[in-house]
Symmetry: C3
Subunit: 154 residues, 3 copies
């Protein structure tokens, strides 16, 4: 997903600093988080749904022309998204990586490892033919679980 | 999955109205639901496993010659499957869409949005080369979580 | 993932019997399990993360030249991995199978069904263009949930 959201980032980075475009909707036991709410609602998805301690995050893409650049932007977006809900990279329990070039991904793994800073999630990497955005080389879907103890203290 | 199940639907739609082919097996804290039990057992999968408040639904395909028709049938099946376990489309927390043509999928997104009726799950869309059924253009896997309050009242 | 881990298995099977290479790291409410810890840490993933009753297992590949052989090794690895955390194949709630040849996978389904011994998880099968390891024909990601009752008795 996130093709339009990405264009939104690119074209409104200045305004975004002034007026953040995200929105949190609370529905009973869950929170629906639109990182870029007009475009995500237009496409019909949410960047994350938080229910109990679990953060289900949408497949995330990033701008940039190379695998390294895209990975860097993706993990920055994921990290910021997790922080919005009180979580950190180390709380990611599962990562599924869909990429158009798994060898380029493997070659750029240092970027991914830097983002995880020693944390090692359960992971699956697969090579697909295309993502929604034609420019996207890689899309990363994560699920994070906040520590049981932390949830009461939030 | 669901290639044989789909053929079953096509060939037995009349009988299905008379004698529903689904089966619910309760095993301790979980329920195993076969939507079309002879074919699903033959293939070795269940259309859904329900454990606690969570409904893990298998990748679902639908009949029809076009992306629009298949999407319509898929979401109808998913909606009916969720209803079987007391859930609705708005309880879907994560959707992973595997398609042979992501551009056709994007073009048919109005069908998907109608099915969700304003709900926006966390979602990932990827283009793959083939699904189990050769006719399938798209397969959709969802996970739904019933509201915590509702679970005690079921 | 697991390309290097697999090479490790192939080249060190004798030593592995003497000095198992797995490691369990306990971090608050979760356990990080490295089946082959030097290579998994090097790549930046864990074969499984266990949190509460849920075992999130990485996409698993196996050695062998044919689909049948790879499936046999994969399910043996998954079964052993689950056993390490007190779970069995019947506790798998969701299976996602990524394969380079979905028709060969369907033809070899008897191997998979033998491994499940009558259990039927929720499942999605998709055909992709490549996995991380060039030799891998199939990669299987599973999530298992231990019975609620069993968790207190462990």
């Amino acid at each position: 997903m996130a093709v339009l959201a990405l264009l939104t980032i690119a074209s409104t980075s200045v305004q975004a600093q002034v007026a953040p475009r995200d929105s949190l909707i609370s529905r009973g036991d869950r929170t629906i988080w639109h990182e870029h709410h007009p475009s995500e609602r237009e496409w019909g998805y949410a960047q994350a749904i938080v229910i109990g301690n679990t953060i289900h995050m949408s497949g995330t893409i990033g701008g940039g022309a190379t695998m390294e650049e895209q990975l860097r932007q993706i993990y920055r977006r994921i990290e910021r998204g997790l922080a919005r809900h009180g979580a950190r990279m180390e709380h990611i329990v599962r990562e599924t990586v869909f990429t158009k070039d798994v060898q380029a991904l493997a070659a750029a793994n240092a970027v991914r490892k830097t983002a995880y800073a020693g944390h090692t999630p359960a992971a699956s990497w697969v090579q697909v033919t295309r993502l929604l955005s034609e420019q996207a080389l890689v899309e990363i879907e994560v699920t994070a679980v906040l520590p049981a103890a932390a949830s009461s203290g939030r």
